[in-house]
């Protein structure tokens, strides 16, 4: 293996071409986790962009090999705290495939899982809008979205006992049954968020200044999005209606009635509006699930240590930022042999260099954030 110091040397010491400027954008916390982009700038146009992730790499894949299937849960959700149910959903499905109990999960548990996954999708999208507000210099959007997000976190806290790190979806079902009054609280929060979405649109998207900043900037074409393997809202804003909830329905998504919002333009504005559309759909899903939920068990009895059968399992779900998949190999021990976590952020990184090249320096933060790129999730 070649020395990595060689690379560091190239990175740090190579002189920029005559008349150009080399800027290290980051790696302080620019609102979204530690991440750096090396920009070569001519005037205020980016000539070359080299994304440099890895500042928050914690080796979750390696750590998983040393822990039991249950002990992995808090570690897996830590990188993606805004979407903790979304990431654990795929993990739970993969372990259940491995244990051969995918078909036996109680119905009530599945409804609660769907509710939590969609709730986390709204929470994550609210966070997305809030941070985008910061990057645009629109601090009202930040305070509103962060504040309104609290309504759903409050409902989720009553159910799970934590604000963001729920550790709630476990192989075999969910950890607790709903407490009394949870459904009313949740539906009220959904009504509230629904009433806020038009206000966000008026505030953020009708404003001519926001339109000037975001319309026609950072366009990703349809074929380009597929080739680069992009995921989630970034892919769907480029005109591909790919959504795992429809493509390969897991849990109860095939019985629920919802649409997959798609936009054709592929610019920042369409990616934002797509997040709004998805929030509306998620609210609809939560309402259906709450209406259909019947009393019953919420967890399969898993006695003693979970021990996977010898074999492997690949499960994917649509988390808030896109396709989240787990590949688990088991050799019959209490620890998995290998866990591969594939996150949507890590995939959206593929197009960042292309997207930033030729952009203006002022657009770099919003371009980076509009890809739904969350460095902690990508680094794992």
């Amino acid at each position: 293996m070649s020395s990595t110091n060689e690379f560091a040397a190239v990175f740090e010491r190579e002189e920029p071409p005559e008349g150009k400027l080399k800027v290290s954008f980051g790696p302080q916390h620019p609102g979204s986790g530690q991440f750096r982009i090396i920009l070569t700038i001519d005037g205020d146009i980016v000539e070359e962009a080299v994304p440099d992730p890895g500042f928050v790499h914690r080796g979750v894949e390696k750590m998983c090999e040393y822990k039991t299937y249950i002990q992995n849960i808090p570690h897996i959700e830590r990188p993606v705290i805004h979407d903790s149910s979304g990431v654990l959903f795929a993990y739970a499905l993969a372990v259940e495939r491995l244990l051969g109990m995918s078909e036996k999960i109680p119905e009530r548990a599945q409804y609660i899982r769907v509710i939590m996954a969609e709730l986390n999708r709204i929470v994550s999208h609210e966070y997305f809008l809030a941070i985008l507000g910061i990057f645009l210099g629109h601090s009202t959007a930040f305070t509103w979205c962060m504040g309104d997000r609290e309504a759903l976190i409050d409902a989720a806290g009553a159910l799970t006992g934590a604000r963001v790190t729920f550790s709630y979806l476990v192989p075999g079902g969910v950890r607790t049954d709903t407490p009394p009054g949870f459904e009313e609280k949740l539906l009220k929060a959904c009504d509230y968020i629904e009433s806020r979405i038009p206000v966000y649109k008026q505030m953020m998207f009708d404003s001519p200044f926001m339109k000037m900043r975001m319309e026609g900037v950072g366009v990703i074409g349809r074929q380009e999005a597929i080739d680069h393997g992009l995921a989630g809202p970034t892919l769907r804003a480029s005109g591909v209606d790919s959504d795992v909830r429809k493509d390969e329905p897991y849990s109860l998504y095939d019985t629920l009635d919802f649409a997959v919002p798609v936009r054709k333009e592929g610019d920042i504005m369409s990616r934002l509006l797509l997040h709004m559309d998805e929030m509306e759909q998620s609210i609809g899903i939560i309402r259906q699930a709450v209406r259909r939920m019947r009393p019953g068990p919420v967890k399969l009895p898993l006695r003693g240590q979970v021990r996977g059968a010898v074999g492997d399992a690949y499960a994917r779900t649509e988390a808030a930022r896109g396709v989240n998949s787990y590949y688990i190999i088991s050799d019959g021990q209490i620890h998995p042999y290998r866990v591969r976590i594939n996150t949507p952020s890590g995939r959206n990184l593929a197009i960042m260099a292309r997207l930033l090249t030729g952009a203006r320096v002022a657009d770099v933060p919003i371009l980076h954030w509009s890809l739904d790129y969350w460095p902690l999730e990508a680094d794992r």
Binding site: I226, D227, H228, R316
Partner: protein, 170 residues
């Protein structure tokens, strides 16, 4: 597309380039070799698997081999539920395989990660530079089974004077 249909489609596309099986629901498993991989990948893409999901590398020290698994999905109408997983084994002494960046451009980033984490060399990939690991990393690739995490943790703790009497429970 149903599993048996997809199985027939991929079998017809690949021919002798790989053994195809459909063991799990919506998952097609293709076993191939290093030499046949570029052709097999191109034909898979022509058959509709155009949406790269990930590359998974695994170390098997017992047989002295590394396993690579290319996971490919599709955005074609009617094929979206199918995922093709292309497996191949590499000898650990010479873990070299051709790049697939021309077939699936998304492979560029995943290959870079597998190179870093497992030391697999993807011939033709111009971008084999450290991605997630620290720039001063001078140990073996960390996802190899020889790399012991617990030892690292204990060294780290000892350097901070944090070693306490530890009871093993296994």
């Amino acid at each position: 597309m149903k599993d048996d249909e997809a199985l027939r489609l991929v079998q017809a596309a690949l021919g002798a380039l790989g053994e195809v099986s459909a063991a799990d629901r919506n998952r097609l498993r293709v076993r191939t070799t290093v030499e046949k991989l570029p052709d097999a990948a191109a034909r898979l893409k022509a058959a509709g698997f155009d949406y790269m999901q990930t590359i998974i590398g695994t170390d098997y020290p017992a047989t002295g081999e590394l396993e690579l698994c290319y996971v490919v999905g599709s955005v074609k109408e009617g094929m979206r539920n199918n995922v093709a997983m292309v497996f191949l084994r590499l000898p650990k002494e010479r873990p070299v395989v051709g790049t697939l960046k021309d077939v699936w451009p998304a492979a560029l980033l995943f290959e870079r990660e597998e190179w870093e984490m497992l030391g697999i060399r993807f011939e033709g990939n111009p971008d084999l530079k450290p991605l997630y690991l620290p720039e001063d990393w001078n140990e073996i690739p960390p996802l190899l089974k020889d790399y012991r995490l617990k030892r690292w943790v204990e060294d780290e703790r000892r350097s901070h004077g944090l070693v306490v009497e530890h009871v093993e429970h296994e």
